[in-house]
Every structure is written in structure tokens, then in C-alpha cells.
Subunit: 326 residues, 2 copies
């Protein structure tokens, strides 16, 4: 294992120091692994997070128009209920807090426990669970579908709704609408190595790829010989199309998300095939995002997310945000 | 070689299609590998570019407040004089064009030839040559120091000056001032593979790193056993400090630039040591940028750039830009 690290046991702690140092709009909640906005306002607050190793998710999405707090667990490990509770208490201004949780058993359990603790202290807390990954129904880490890169659409759109003064139920409702309409699937060309283990999360042959991979290297649906970008996109989009409610003429937003080691140039190349397939299905692309939004350390590969939009979602998607990673 | 590609020979062409599709503020100059702004204005124009494989450089820096055109050669290959000439002619509005060239023999030759051709057609053209890499004096691809990630500071600051209505000589002058005050150095943890060759650009042992690497995998100054982030940063910063004119009390901007496969989390970790060393030298950090600005395909590693600022440079650095990759 070769990494740019000082001490695997101190990985997340140092990473947060390095991030908040570079971004004056963010600060660390003292004594925690929680990142919050430097300036807060009175509105419904959004808290998300999960295991680390997905940077810029989640702390890079803290900022005006998106999240109020991100809770970072150790690498690929859910944060504790206490950390989530710290985040909730730090950002609540009396208008309530929405938790955006990716569907992993540990995250769901710990965020829900934090919600109960916060409720007991009189804070109004609601939650939504993102399960956009159409690759597998149940997985190593989940009951039901996993939450992956489509989560950033929830952050963006619900974040803009909160900024626009919507109340907690309204913000929850639009967050859920995003979840119901976003579908994702990924492919890996190489594994990643969790710093504390020092070993690759799985092995792939010299010419092998894995279709339907999870963002922690959880098994996908198919291991196969390397094929062209066009063929990979075709497999991912076919499965997304089998799940999306989007029909010809509908507006969609697309996210082509790099998993860590795939050059931006190759994500652009994938986009050529993505746009072709969306066009063939008669979908109208309102916006295309390409880059690293939710990574798996230095895994090579990418995921595609397709979000069926309505007018309100489109407006919130395009609203201003200062989050560093958007 | 496993990559997200369809056809190595069509790599750059497809990449540009995928980029301009996703970014409505950009367009491709028909029949070329030149990316320009969709909306132009009457002002001094900035043209940069070079070999591809450094994405988001250079096309991702085209936009209000930065570049007017980026010329993309094949991967790690200088664009032809004709492509550069096309770019110059497309963006000149009569106020002149500044070429921002990274110091590689091919780039300097082809951009200079284009400048001569443009001058012959009555266009006023000036140029600056960026040579921020303090690792080596001469290299495989250069006479003198190489131009690497510090180039993006030139794009940003000279771009803002042009936007502010400065004339060609003034824009050239501030671009040169950035070049005189920016110093960079990088490290590689793994090589990269040019799609058309299919072979890694060089080999590194399981536990080896290379200090002073160039952005095309050109040899650095030292191949050594893997060490901690703190020790790597110490070596890079020591060489930068030996060259920078910055003295205690001076303002600086810092760029920690990922080369392609290094997770953002590890760049944040590197930043902890970078800030410590800058503070120890008594430098005042005006701004820290962390992310992938000038990559080497999927090379693992990073570079550090330190720019000594004056008030005017600080203002232009902080000015608004719409370039997708800033």
C-alpha cells in the first residue's frame, strides 16, 4: 500500500483538519468529526454523512444551499450515534433537522438512534433513506438497494428547498421525491485499499471489470472482460432505464461520477455514450454533471445516475450553492 | 491497460464532445480540437493549451474570468501551430491575444509559430512561458524548468486582469509577474498509461515513489522508498522554499494539485503538513486550493505550488470566474 498518509489511525481526523483549513466557509465542530458551515441561518437544517473514503462527499457538500453538517465516520464505517447527535444539536435552529441517510445497515441504525436521542431532547428530526443503486436488491451491507452517488442530488435539491424557507415536512417531501426518481449504477476497473487494512478490498484480473460495484467495493452483478466505454454505459443505462419512471419527453439530470482514479477525460468519453442513449430514449437532458462527487478512495471506475425532474426539482437543482464540491 | 475508452485514436476528439455537451458555457470550434467560450466579449483574449491528458486543464479553465480558448493536442503531444492559430483567430476581438504556454519544447515551438502566423494576419499576439517546476533545470521535454500546475494561477490572475479591461501589455505583465512568483514540485506514487501506447509511462516498485516527477511521467530528481505524507511534503516544500522570493510576512496562495488517482482525502492530509511548513516560515496563506487542476491521466501523486502574492494578484485571484474547473 502506497498512500499520501501519516498514520492510518489518524486518517479521517487529519483529513478534516486539512479540509477546514482550506475552506474558510467550513469549520469542524470541536472534539468531533463533524463539519458544519462557518455561518449558520435560521432554517430547516440538513445533516448527512456516513463512512469516510467518499470525498468530496459528504463534507464538501456543506455550504449555503446544500448541507448544514456532515458527519464523517472512519473509512467505510458508519459514524456513531453520538457524532450524529452532536451534528443535529449543532445545526438545529428550532425549525427542525432532516437527516439524509444512505441505505447501509450501520448508517441507518446509527442515524436513527441519533434521531431518537435528539427527539428526546425536544428537537424535531425527520429522515430520508437514499437507495438509488439499482445494481442489486440486497447486498453485503444492506437490506434493499444501496445508496450511492445519486445522494448528492438529494443534498442539492433538498438543500435549496430548505434555503428557500420550506418547512421540515416540505423539505422531507421533496427529498423523498428526489429519492423516488433517481437511479444509479456503477462499474469498477480496479479495487481500492482501506488505509487501516492495507489490502485491496477485492481483486480484479488484468483485463477484468466489475459491473454493479458498490462504493465500498461490495460485489456487483457481473464480473467480465474489459469492454469499450460505449458497452459499459449500455449495460449501466439499460438497468437504470429498467427502473426509472422517466418517459420520452421527460426532463432529466445526469451525473457521471468518478470513483477516484478514473481521469476526467474518460468520464467525458463515457458521457458521449450516455447522451446518445438518453436521446434515443427521448429524454430531455436539463443538466449533466461530470466529476468526482462520491468516490471510493482510489477505485477506478464510475457510476451513472439519472434523475427524472419536475419543474420544482429543476429550479432547486440550479439554485445557488457555495458548497465547495458542487 | 483498462480504460473507459472506445478508441484510443479518437480519445481527445470524444473527450471534447463529452465536455462541451455537459458544459453549455463552452463550445468546440468546428473542425478543431479547440474549446472556446459560448459567449465572447470585447477584451484581451487568453489562449492556452498543450497536450491532452491533464484534464481539467486546459479546457476546464475556459470561461468568464479565465481563458477564452484552450487548444488540446493529442495526449501528451503539443497541438499543431494551425490549431493554435485557429484558436487565436476565433477569440481575437481586436484587442490582442495573450498565449499562456507551458515550457515544453514542442509547445513553445508550435505556439510561437502560430503567433507569427497570426501576427502576419495583423493580430496582435503576445506570449508568456510558464516554468514553475523547480524539480529539474532541464528535462526530457524541456530546456529550462518545466511548466506544471502553477500555470492555473496564471490563467486565473491574467484572466481576471483581462476581464477587468487591462490592455494586452498589462495582462502580459501581470501574467509574467505570476510566473516569476510561482514555484511548484510534484511526487508520483504510480505511473500513468497513454491510451495509444497501452503501456505505463514508467515503472515504480511496490514501495517506491518518485520525487520531482513531471506531468508526463518525465523523470524526477529522486526515486526512493515510500515515506509519510509529512516527509514527502517536507521534501517538496524545501525545494520550493529554496526558489520562492516569499519572505516571512508575505502573502501566498497554495495549490495542492492531485495528479489523477490520489484521493481528495489524501490531498487534505498533505495540506496539514503544507500549512505547518508555511506557517513555520512565517508566510501568510491568503488562499489554499485543493483538488485536481492539472493531472497526468491516472497517475497517483500530487504537486504543491506556492505563489507569492501582491495585492493586485490577490484581488484577481479572488475575482469571479465561471470556468467549470475553478
Amino acid at each position: 500500500m502506497k498512500k499520501v498518509i501519516d498514520d492510518a489511525a489518524n486518517y479521517v481526523n487529519q483529513m478534516i483538519d486539512g479540509l477546514v483549513n482550506a475552506e474558510p466557509s467550513l469549520k469542524r465542530l470541536p472534539g468531533t468529526q463533524v463539519v458544519v458551515r462557518a455561518a449558520s441561518e435560521e432554517k430547516v437544517a440538513l445533516v448527512s454523512g456516513g463512512g469516510s473514503g467518499h470525498e468530496p462527499a459528504h463534507a464538501g457538500f456543506v455550504g449555503y444551499g446544500m448541507l448544514d453538517a456532515a458527519v464523517s465516520g472512519e473509512v467505510f464505517t458508519s459514524p456513531t450515534p453520538n457524532q450524529v447527535l452532536d451534528a443535529i444539536k449543532a445545526v438545529d435552529t428550532g425549525k427542525g433537522v432532516l437527516l439524509v441517510i444512505k441505505n447501509y445497515t450501520g448508517d441507518v441504525m446509527n442515524f436513527e438512534m441519533a434521531a431518537e436521542l435528539a427527539s428526546a431532547e425536544g428537537i424535531e428530526v425527520e429522515q430520508v433513506i437514499v437507495n438509488d443503486d439499482v445494481a442489486v436488491e440486497d447486498s453485503t451491507f444492506t437490506v434493499g438497494r444501496r445508496g450511492i452517488a445519486g445522494t448528492v442530488f438529494v443534498h442539492k435539491i433538498a438543500g435549496a428547498a430548505a434555503e428557500a424557507g420550506r418547512n421540515l415536512q416540505q423539505v422531507k417531501s421533496i427529498a423523498q421525491r428526489v429519492i423516488d426518481n433517481v437511479h444509479s449504477m456503477g462499474v469498477a476497473l480496479s479495487p481500492c485499499t482501506v488505509p487501516s487494512s492495507g489490502q485491496p478490498s477485492f481483486e480484479l484480473g488484468e483485463d477484468e471489470i466489475e459491473i454493479g460495484i458498490g462504493i465500498h467495493g461490495e460485489p456487483g452483478v457481473k464480473r467480465m472482460e474489459w469492454v469499450s466505454a460505449a458497452k459499459i454505459v449500455e449495460m449501466l443505462i439499460a438497468k437504470i432505464f429498467a427502473n426509472t419512471p422517466a418517459k420520452p419527453g421527460d426532463n432529466v439530470a445526469v451525473l457521471i461520477n468518478g470513483l477516484g482514479a478514473t481521469p476526467l477525460s474518460e468520464l467525458y468519453i463515457a458521457n458521449v455514450s450516455v447522451q446518445k442513449m438518453l436521446q434515443e430514449k427521448g429524454l430531455v437532458v436539463h443538466r449533466t454533471l461530470i466529476g468526482e462527487y462520491m468516490t471510493s478512495l482510489e477505485m477506478a471506475g464510475f457510476s451513472i445516475s439519472v434523475l427524472k425532474l419536475d419543474d420544482e426539482m429543476s429550479d432547486f437543482l440550479d439554485a445557488v450553492t457555495t458548497a465547495p464540491a458542487w
